[in-house]
Symmetry: C2
Subunit: 506 residues, 2 copies
């Protein structure tokens, strides 16, 4: 009779070695986006390539496979011992899940994929700069082919898109998503149309000069209020904000544009949401699935919760707006709270997804979701993309980009080879609204608390409901446990209707 | 007949892989000293331990050994082909040198050494804090034993200390050092005694409040004048200033104390000297000895050249002092150049090596050199250190520390296991003075050029004479070629006599 506890501990140790290597990758990527001198890019690529090799080798080593296989049947998923506790079972389940996925993709395919996307990224960057879709077209074609091949290699039920979606949002299916997105689309289009009949709020005071140094004072004040301990986290600058690291070494970044301070503060709240999710996971379980992010959708629910639901709310700014005015008396001294609140919630169709407001954001996502689904099905040819894109933009948002750089070339995701990723952005919003609905019931006085500057109950509640579990439950199950409801578009629609009917006096 | 060119190229590629891994180590160490949140220290140790393992594995891999052995006889050093050019021969010579040294130390010894110094470092830190030598004594004892063992394993002629010295300053011997250091000691003691009969310069204006932000403006101005391209280098803050990186990604740090601005500026010039040496080596030879620093002594000659010989000189401040006054008008507006120059060259015996002036600095080094030599010879027992230390301080510098934290516990080197390292600090000063003597002959108008803000001729001359060669020649040979003279204490003594007789009106 094998000593299962001992084997399990060895498996944990082996997995931790892989995680140490991955954490080095993260550190180098962080440095590349923050402080690395530009001429170091070639060496950095070589460093990352070498680490990727080591990580892959470690995660698929015969030693790891043998240990894992001795504790759980790799083919059928049955466990070797009935003495494992629930946490051990969850770790074994997720290790198996990761291992099988990695093992299904032959090294030759992984190399070809990496090579293709490396060239595609370069071509995309040039194509976007020149706004010439043709430069990107042959690469997009290859990427679609490779993603269909990837789906075949991974295996799927019903629809090849499910295999891709599952990479980013485990167990999510197109069958579940399609009706939800369809209902959401209709509701958003209707709400948008109504809003567009109303007068446009003043926003000019947000476009004055806000000195970067003062912006950063306020950014740090936000993070402090969210509860970030400086000995475990930091905030730096990068072109595109992001969050990476471990629960004991969290690295967040933001961007500073001196004429758009809110882009900075909302980036801080967004990355702060990701950051609290990371800090809330058990640091002592480093290297185990139980300390990892469960899905992109759930991760995004945390960032959108803080950025939009809390960070764009009136109670939040009841507390913070006077502090913001204090930091920027010349720019905001004469603007009252309600005008500020209307300005930051200004809804209008626009071309660029990452600048979209809450109401139009998911319409941008649905455009992409429908197009990449059609790509994978073979119902849309790559060369038809610009026309199809513009047609959907016209239909859902009522505007048509005049150039592809503001249309189908704007996002990096497809060039990076990622299809099935976009829906997780909207899933994040849906989950966030479901969490918010539950929170309101749990804390009927939430508005008063937040208006008095108390954010700790939010952090602690999210930690208890979501963060502390890591990958203990699959994402849908985790969210069902946290909210008592299955995935639904209704809470998000209700939240938006409630907020914007009041704001726009509909 | 083997294809030697092809084998050689394979060897370069293999060596480059090791260098990529080492460069990751450097990056993580840089991050640890600059931006890493404190709670990440355990993970960082694990990351570095893993990388050290990979580096060692790569540098001693059977593949590397086989390739190297096919091009140069590992035992006798004879080359397999007469077609190698001089640069290839230099690379092969240095690869063999590194390989043999690494191979001579068994893995078990390396582990024991690492383990011992890890504990010693901790104990030293506690001992220094409490100023209790006894806490460090048992660890010092072990470290001396291990260094003697190390010398035996590495092998040596004449004296075991030579084996250790050779680790930091290839081909330097105690036979050569001893008479040089003896003559230097006498000359410095005499000069110091004479200076001490003279009035003390005013220095109070250097101890006023100098706002850190303004200090950094001036620090960057210095680096710009030295010729650092921002796309290849950067300056950050750390507790102890250092310089690391590659010719395409140079990382320098400094420290800022608001009441001691010169400590910041001299650190910038010092690390800048190391930095220019790095930038001046051939980036395209990354991974080859020809792109590496040839010795600690030569590296230190570059930092001391810029920090002391140039950076403490009158012509240098003729150009920069008006700019410094402009940045700090309240602190320096009423102080003339000559008073400032006397203040930054104030000579007085003090306890702490790293704060010592040019005249007393090498006396601190000689104290340590004589003591560690006696340790290795067995002529000094570890427990006798405090007394021996204080006795030498009294004799050479005329002062006795009242506590060991300001005496024999001040340096980290022995706790890190490094014996044979200290002399390279003084070698750096000797080499710098020899280079300076040559420079003065080459550019008779050097003072005028520098006083007009031209530093580029210094940078270019040092690059041509020293930097570009990497490890092409052993350090002594390189310096002989650059200066036309063998190693000697005379140029340094002459430089100090000349400077301080004039400054102190002796």
């Amino acid at each position: 009779m094998p000593d299962f506890e001992k084997l399990y501990q060895k498996l944990v140790d082996t997995s931790r070695e892989t995680a140490v290597l991955s954490s080095i990758q993260m550190q180098l990527e962080w440095d590349q986006e923050t402080y690395m001198p530009s001429s170091s890019i070639d060496l950095r690529s070589k460093q990352l390539e070498m680490l990727a090799h080591f990580v892959h080798k470690s995660a698929t080593s015969p030693k790891f496979k043998k240990l894992l296989g001795s504790l759980v049947d790799l083919k059928h998923g049955t466990y070797a011992s009935s003495d494992f506790n629930h946490e051990q079972l969850a770790n074994l389940r997720e290790w198996r899940r990761d291992y099988l996925r990695t093992a299904k993709l032959p090294a030759s395919f992984v190399r070809k994929f990496a090579n293709t996307t490396s060239h595609a990224l370069h071509a995309w960057s040039e194509a976007k700069k020149a706004s010439r879709f043709k430069l990107f077209l042959p690469h997009l074609d290859k990427i679609i082919q490779l993603n269909r091949k990837k789906a075949d290699l991974l295996g799927y039920h019903d629809h090849p898109y499910n295999a891709l979606l599952d990479l980013y949002e485990p167990e999510m299916t197109i069958t579940e998503l399609t009706p939800i997105f369809a209902k959401l689309k209709l509701a958003l289009m209707n709400l948008l149309r109504e809003i567009q009949t109303k007068p446009v709020p003043h926003t000019d005071f947000l476009l004055k000069h806000y000195p970067p140094q003062q912006q950063m004072v306020f950014a740090h004040l936000l993070l402090k209020a969210m509860g970030f301990p400086p000995e475990r986290s930091r905030l730096d600058l990068s072109m595109h904000p992001f969050c990476s690291g471990t629960p004991l070494d969290l690295r967040m970044t933001t961007h500073v544009h001196h004429e758009n301070p809110m882009a900075n503060f909302f980036a801080v709240l967004h990355e702060g949401g990701h950051g609290l999710y990371c800090l809330g996971r058990p640091a002592e379980r480093f290297g185990e699935p139980l300390s990892e992010s469960v899905s992109l959708g759930v991760d995004e629910s945390q960032s959108r919760f803080w950025e939009t639901i809390i960070g764009h709310s009136l109670p939040f700014w009841r507390n913070f707006y006077p502090l913001l005015q204090e930091e920027f008396p010349d720019q905001l001294g004469g603007i009252d709270l309600e005008s500020f609140h209307r300005a930051i919630n200004y809804v209008r169709p626009s071309f660029i997804r990452i600048h979209a407001d809450e109401v139009t954001y998911s319409l941008h996502i649905i455009v992409r979701f429908e197009l990449e689904k059609a790509f994978i099905e073979g119902n849309l040819k790559p060369k038809e993309l610009p026309e199809a894109w513009n047609e959907k933009m016209r239909e859902y948002l009522g505007i048509v980009p005049s150039k592809d750089s503001e249309g189908c070339l704007q996002d990096i995701h497809w060039a990076m080879g990622m299809m099935g990723y976009f829906p997780t952005y909207t899933l994040g919003n849906l989950y966030a609204a479901q969490l918010f609905q539950t929170l309101q019931k749990t804390f009927p006085d939430w508005e008063t608390k937040i208006a008095h500057g108390d954010l700790s109950f939010l952090r602690e509640w999210l930690k208890e409901k979501v963060h502390k579990y890591g990958r203990r439950y699959p994402p849908k199950e985790l969210m069902h446990k946290a909210t008592g409801q299955p995935l639904s578009e209704q809470p998000y629609i209700a939240y938006l209707e409630n907020k914007y009917r009041s704001l726009y006096d509909l």
